[in-house]
C-alpha cells in the first residue's frame, strides 16, 4: 500500500509517494536524498539518525514516514542556516567532539532537542525532584548532559568532547537569552 505525504525538510517542502511501511529515515535518505541523518542500526539503538521532528528529537528509523505526513523535519544540515553553523555545531568543532563524524549529525540534533527539553522543564532521571518542580532546569551539569544524551552512541569514544561541547553551547545559549538576544524559534518556520 502506498500513500502520498508531504514533508518539509530543512525548510524545503516535498510531496512524495511512499510504501506505507517506509521509515522516515528511508524516506529521507532514499526518496529525498537527504543523507544528514545516518543509518547506523535501523533499530533505534544508536541514535545516528536523530532529527528534529516538529521541534522534538526523534530517531527516524523508528518513525514511519506516513506518521510524519505534514511534519517539519530539521536535520543537522538544516541547523546550519545560510551557511552559518548553529552554535551547537560550532561547539562540536571547538571541542573536537567527534572523530569519524558518523554519529555527529544525530548527536547534534539530539543535543539541540535536548536543550529545548531542559529549557521546557522536562526532567531527566538525573534531575533532583525539586528542580523539576520549579519548572525548568537551571543548569545542565555534566551528569544531566550525560543522562540526556545516553541514547546517542559514539564508537570513536569522543564523549568527553561531546559533553563539554554541549555544556559550552548551553552556556552560550543561556548567556544569549540572559542578554536579551532572542533564541532561535523552535516550532514552525525554517531553522
Amino acid at each position: 500500500m502506498h500513500a502520498d505525504i508531504t514533508l518539509t525538510v530543512d525548510g524545503r517542502r516535498h510531496q512524495l509517494r511512499v510504501d506505507t511501511r517506509t521509515t522516515l529515515l528511508d524516506a529521507l535518505r532514499e526518496d529525498l536524498g537527504v543523507t544528514a541523518p545516518k543509518k547506523g542500526c535501523d533499530h533505534g539503538q544508536c541514535g545516528s539518525c536523530t532529527v528534529l521532528l516538529n521541534g522534538r528529537r526523534v530517531v527516524t528509523c523508528l518513525v514511519l514516514a506516513v506518521a510524519g505526513d505534514g511534519a517539519e523535519v530539521v536535520t543537522a544540515a538544516g541547523l546550519a542556516e545560510g551557511g552559518d553553523l548553529h552554535p551547537m555545531q560550532e561547539a562540536f568543532m571547538d571541542h573536537d567532539a567527534f572523530q569519524c563524524g558518523y554519529c555527529t549529525p544525530g548527536q547534534i540534533c539530539s543535543a539541540v532537542g535536548m536543550l529545548d527539553e531542559a529549557a521546557a522543564g522536562w526532567p531527566s532521571a538525573a534531575t533532583p525532584p525539586r528542580a523539576s518542580a520549579e519548572g525548568a532546569v537551571a543548569e545542565l551539569d555534566d551528569t544531566e548532559i550525560r543522562e540526556r544524551m545516553s541514547g546517542n552512541l559514539c564508537r570513536c569514544g569522543a564523549y568527553a568532547g561531546i559533553v563539554s561541547a554541549i555544556g559550552d553551547a548551553a552556556r552560550r545559549t543561556h548567556a544569549a537569552a540572559a542578554s536579551g538576544i532572542p533564541r532561535p524559534a523552535r516550532e514552525g518556520g525554517r531553522r
Binding site: 544528514a36 545516518k38 547506523g40 543537522a76 541547523l79 572523530q99 563524524g101 552512541l153
Partner: protein, 818 residues
C-alpha cells in the same frame, strides 16, 4: 531530485578544497599558525557537523542498482546445489551471481589468499557469502535473495580453538594443500601459524620445570578474551561504477586503498590500473575495514550489469560481514624471586582465527613478540598459535594481538603482587623495561621508553572523591548499574587497578612498510597553495588535519588543500597499527622538503635570493625559511612573497617514506628485531562495584602515555580517550557471543558498546620523549590505550572484590557469585 555525488566525482569531496569548506588555516577564530604542534580544526569538520560529509553509505549515482548478499545459514556445510533461476525471474532483478561468475581468482586475502569471493563447494562460517544479487530497489534485492535455492549438507563445525590447535583428530577447516600457507608457519592441520620464542636457559635446553625450582614464587593463570567487535557505526558500504575502458571505479570506505585494489583486481580478471579505488567517507574503522567486505561483489555486479551498483550492509549483516578481534585462550606462568624480580615466563597463546586467515599470521607475530609485555624476564618460552575454526573470521582490531596478551601479562603481574604481598605498581617498577632493555625477540629498545616515570605519574594522579558513604542516600545514578541497577549502595566497594600496555607501532616482521605523498605548490588567486595528495585513509583519526599541519610547517603556507585519497598516487599503506601519522606524515614531510628545496633553487635562479646556501637540513635550506607565505632569506633580508618566487611555476614532488627495516621472527627461536617502533600507555582505573549485583561503574580511567611528540594535542587526547573507551568496553561489556559458530547477539541491543554514561571523565597526561627514528620524533597513539585500559579496569574490580576474574568481558556472575 535525489542529489548525490556524480559517479565520476570524488565520493568524499576534498575536505578543504578551495570552494568547499574554508581551509582550516583561514578560519577567523584560528590563531596564526595551524602548523605542527597546534590544534587547528579538522578540515572535514564543517562537513561532518552539518551532516554533509559523504560517507560510503550516502553515495548515489544515476541509474544505480542495489546489491545484496546471500549468506550461509550454517557455520560449516557442503554446498550441494544452488538454483538462482527463481530469483532471476523476479522483475527488477538484474543479476544473480555465484562463484561460477567470478571471472578471475576465486579467492582473496590480505596475507593468505584463502577466502572465496563467493563460496564454491564449502561454507566455513555462518554468514559466508554464497551469492549476490543486483536489483532496482533494496526490497527487490531482499526478495530475490529469498528465492535463491541452496541445498547444504551440514558438516561438523570446528568451534573450539584449543581443539583446533592441539587435537590431531579435529576435523580440518581447510583440506591439506588447499591454502597457500607460508611454509615457515608450520602448516599443520588447522594451525595457521605457530610462533615460538625461546630465550635464556629455555633456549639452552633447560625446561620450565628447572626454572620453577629456582623461583621463590610462581603464579599461573588461564585467561580468556572474548571476541570483540569494532562496531563501526558506519556500515560496510560502497559504490562501484563500470567504466568505458572495461574497468571499474569503486568508491568505498576502507583502511587501505591499494590493498583493496591489489585483492580486487585479480578476482575481476582485470589489471590493477583498471580498478580505480577512491576513498569514500569512513564511518569508523578500528581494523574492521582492513579486509575486503563488499568490494569485489559490488564490482562484479557493476561489470555484469553495466550499471553502478551500491551495497550497504545492515547492522546484523555487518556483524557477519567483517572480521573481529581474535578471541584468545591464554595459559601464563611466571616465576619470580622473593624481591619481585621476574625470573622466567612460559606462555601459551591460542588465537581463534575463524574460517579464513585475514591478518591472523601477523596477529600471532605481535602476540608472541609482545607476550611478555614491558617486563624484563631473562628466561622465556612463548608459544603463540593462530588457528582455523568455523567461527566468524577474525583479523585486525585496534591493538592487534597485543590487547589479548596484555590482559594476560597484566593479570599475572597483579597475581604476582598478591603472591608477594607487594604493591602492584612496585612489582611493575621492579621489572620495567626502558631504553636499552631487550625484548624476548632479542630486539633492543633503542628509543626512550620511560615506563617507570609513567607508572609513578599514574600513581600520583589525583584520586576521585570517595563514594558516598551513607546507604540509601546515594544518588542512584552514581551507583553501579545506574538508576536501573536496583542497588541502594549498601554493597558498593571501591577498587583501584593499573594496566600497562606495550604496542608495536607501524608494520612489523620485515614488511616493506611505506607511504607515498605528492605535494604541489602553486599560486592560485594570488596566494600560494599547497595541494597534498596521498592514498591514506582518513578514518576519523584526524590524519587530514595532520597532513595540512605538516604542509603549513614545512612550506610556510597558510592555505593547504587535500586531494581526495585514491589509487592514482602510490600506496600510503594501511590506516592501522597506529602508523599513519608516522608513515604518511613522514611522506608528506619528505615531499614538502623536496618542494621547498626546489622553491629555494627557483628563488636563486630568479635572482630573488643571494648566495649559495646548502642543502635541505631540518627546517632550513641554507638558512632560508618559508613562513607566512613568504620566503625568508637568512641574515635579516626582507622576506619575498612566495607568490613572487613562484610566479606561474608549479612545483610538484612525490616522495615515498619508509621506516627503518624490520626483520621476520625466526620460526624456531622467535628471534628478530621485528618492530619499527614501540608505544606505551599506563592506565589507572577507579571503579565502584556492587559486589552483590555484580555491577561495575568506572569512576575514573586516567592515562599516562608516551607519544614522542604531540603533533595535534587536542586530537591526540581524543585518540587516547577513544582507545580507552574501547578497552573499557572489552573489560565490561563487549563480546560477540558465538555458540556453535553462530553469533547470538548481532545487534546493538545485545552487543553493548559504551555509552556516554559508561565512560567516566578521563584525565590524560602525555609525555614527549622524542623518538629520533620518527618524523618530528612522534609515536602513533591510537592503540596503546586500548591495551592498558582493559587490564586496569579488571584489576580495579579484582581489588574491590577479591575475585580472580580471568575472563573479559567481565560478567555479573563472575563478580557476584561465589
Amino acid at each position: 531530485m535525489t542529489p548525490g555525488p556524480a559517479p565520476t566525482a570524488p565520493a568524499a569531496p576534498p575536505p578543504s578544497a578551495p570552494g568547499s569548506a574554508p581551509p582550516a588555516g583561514e578560519r577567523a577564530a584560528e590563531p596564526a599558525g595551524g602548523g605542527v604542534g597546534d590544534s587547528p580544526p579538522r578540515p572535514d569538520g564543517t562537513l561532518k557537523v552539518t551532516g554533509e560529509f559523504a560517507y560510503s553509505s550516502d553515495l548515489w549515482a544515476e541509474n544505480m542498482l542495489w546489491g545484496m548478499t546471500l549468506r550461509s545459514p550454517h557455520p560449516h556445510a557442503r554446498i550441494v546445489r544452488v538454483d538462482t533461476a527463481p530469483a532471476l525471474r523476479l522483475p527488477g532483478v538484474h543479476a544473480v551471481l555465484t562463484h561460477e561468475d567470478v571471472p578471475g581468482e576465486p579467492r582473496y586475502g590480505l596475507e593468505v589468499r584463502d577466502q572465496p569471493v563467493l563460496a564454491a563447494e564449502t561454507v566455513r562460517y555462518r554468514g559466508e557469502p554464497v551469492a549476490v544479487v543486483a536489483a532496482d530497489h533494496p526490497e527487490t534485492a531482499r526478495r530475490a535473495l529469498e528465492r535463491i535455492v541452496v541445498d547444504y549438507e551440514v558438516l561438523e563445525p570446528v568451534c573450539d580453538a584449543r581443539r583446533a590447535a592441539f587435537d590431531p583428530d579435529c576435523p580440518l577447516v581447510h583440506p591439506p594443500g588447499s591454502v597457500p600457507l607460508r611454509p615457515e608457519h608450520n602448516p599443520r592441520g588447522n594451525v595457521l601459524r605457530h610462533q615460538p620464542i625461546r630465550t635464556g636457559d629455555l633456549a639452552r635446553g633447560r625446561t620450565v620445570a628447572d626454572l620453577r625450582e629456582r623461583a621463590d614464587v610462581v603464579v599461573t593463570g588461564s585467561y580468556e578474551v572474548g571476541m570483540q567487535d569494532q562496531a563501526c557505526l558506519g556500515p560496510e558500504s560502497g559504490l562501484a561504477v563500470p567504466a568505458e575502458d572495461g574497468g571499474v571505479d569503486l568508491y568505498v570506505a576502507t583502511q587501505w586503498l591499494h590493498a583493496d585494489q591489489r585483492q580486487i583486481a585479480p578476482c575481476l580478471g582485470l589489471p590493477p590500473e583498471l580498478v580505480r579505488v577512491t576513498l569514500a567517507g569512513v564511518g569508523g574503522a578500528f581494523g574492521a575495514r582492513e579486509d575486503l567486505s563488499m568490494q569485489v561483489h559490488a564490482c562484479l555486479l557493476a561489470l555484469r550489469t553495466g550499471r553502478p551498483v551500491k551495497i550497504v550492509y545492515n547492522r546484523e549483516e555487518s556483524f557477519y560481514g567483517h572480521v573481529h578481534r581474535h578471541p584468545a585462550h591464554l595459559r601464563f606462568e611466571h616465576g619470580a624471586a622473593a624481591d619481585g624480580r621476574l625470573l622466567y615466563a612460559a606462555l601459551e597463546i591460542v588465537l581463534d582465527g575463524g574460517a579464513y586467515a585475514s591478518t591472523t599470521p601477523a596477529v600471532v607475530g605481535v602476540a608472541a613478540s609482545l607476550g611478555l609485555g614491558p617486563y624484563e624476564i631473562p628466561h622465556a618460552a612463548v608459544d603463540a598459535y593462530g588457528v582455523y575454526t568455523t567461527n566468524p573470521p577474525c583479523g585486525a582490531m585496534r591493538g592487534f594481538g597485543a590487547v589479548q596478551a596484555c590482559f594476560g601479562y597484566e593479570s599475572q603481574m597483579d597475581r604476582l603482587a598478591e603472591a608477594l604481598d607487594m604493591d602492584p605498581v612496585e612489582v611493575r617498577l621492579r621489572n620495567a623495561v626502558g631504553r636499552g632493555s631487550v625484548l624476548p625477540t632479542g630486539q633492543r629498545i633503542d628509543a626512550p621508553l620511560p615506563m617507570a616515570e609513567m607508572l609513578e605519574r599514574a600513581r600520583a594522579l589525583p584520586m576521585p572523591p570517595p563514594p558516598e558513604a551513607a546507604p540509601g542516600r546515594v544518588d542512584p545514578l552514581a551507583l553501579p548499574g545506574g538508576a536501573g541497577g536496583a542497588g541502594v549502595g549498601a554493597s558498593v566497594v571501591r577498587g583501584v587497578g593499573y594496566g600497562v600496555g606495550l604496542k608495536n607501532l607501524c608494520f612489523s616482521e620485515g614488511f616493506d612498510d611505506h607511504s607515498t605523498a605528492r605535494v604541489r605548490l602553486e599560486v592560485v588567486g594570488g596566494v600560494p597553495v599547497a595541494l597534498v595528495h596521498t592514498a591514506a585513509a582518513e578514518v576519523g583519526q584526524g590524519l587530514v588535519t595532520l597532513q595540512e599541519q605538516i604542509a603549513r610547517t614545512e612550506l610556510g603556507v597558510r592555505r593547504v588543500a587535500l586531494h581526495p585519497a585514491d589509487t592514482s598516487v602510490g600506496s600510503a599503506g594501511s590506516s592501522s597499527a597506529s602508523r599513519q601519522s608516522h608513515m604518511t606524515g613522514g611522506a608528506v614531510k619528505a615531499a614538502c622538503e623536496a618542494v621547498r628545496a626546489r622553491v629555494v633553487a627557483l628563488a636563486r635562479a630568479r635572482g630573488l635570493l643571494a648566495g649559495e646556501g646548502g642543502g635541505a637540513v631540518g627546517g632550513a635550506d641554507g638558512g632560508v625559511r618559508l613562513a607566512a607565505d613568504c620566503l625568508v632569506p637568512p641574515g635579516g633580508a626582507a622576506p619575498v612573497p612566495l607568490a613572487e618566487v613562484l610566479g606561474d611555476a608549479v612545483v610538484e614532488e612525490t616522495r615515498e617514506f619508509r621506516h627503518r627495516p624490520t626483520s621476520p621472527l625466526d620460526p624456531v627461536t622467535g628471534q628478530g628485531s621485528s618492530h619499527a617502533q614501540l608505544g606505551m600507555c599506563v592506565h589507572r582505573a577507579v571503579v565502584d562495584v556492587d559486589v552483590e549485583l555484580g555491577l561495575v561503574r568506572v569512576v575514573a580511567l586516567d592515562a599516562v602515555q608516551e607519544v614522542g611528540r604531540a603533533l595535534h594535542p587536542r586530537q591526540l587526547v581524543g585518540q587516547i580517550h577513544g582507545g580507552a573507551t574501547q578497552g573499557l568496553g572489552l573489560a565490561l561489556m563487549e563480546e560477540v557471543q558465538v555458540a556453535d559458530g553462530v553469533i547470538r547477539n548481532p545487534s546493538f541491543t545485545d552487543y553493548l558498546i559504551p555509552t556516554v554514561l559508561d565512560v567516566p571523565p578521563m584525565r590524560v597526561e602525555v609525555l614527549e620523549h622524542a623518538d629520533p627514528q620518527a618524523p618530528y620524533g612522534l609515536r602513533g597513539a591510537g592503540e596503546p590505550p586500548t591495551l592498558s585500559a582493559t587490564p586496569a579496569v579488571v584489576a580495579a574490580v579484582r581489588a574491590a572484590t577479591g575475585r580472580p576474574l580471568t575472563r573479559v568481558p567481565l560478567r555479573p556472575e563472575d563478580i557476584a557469585l561465589p
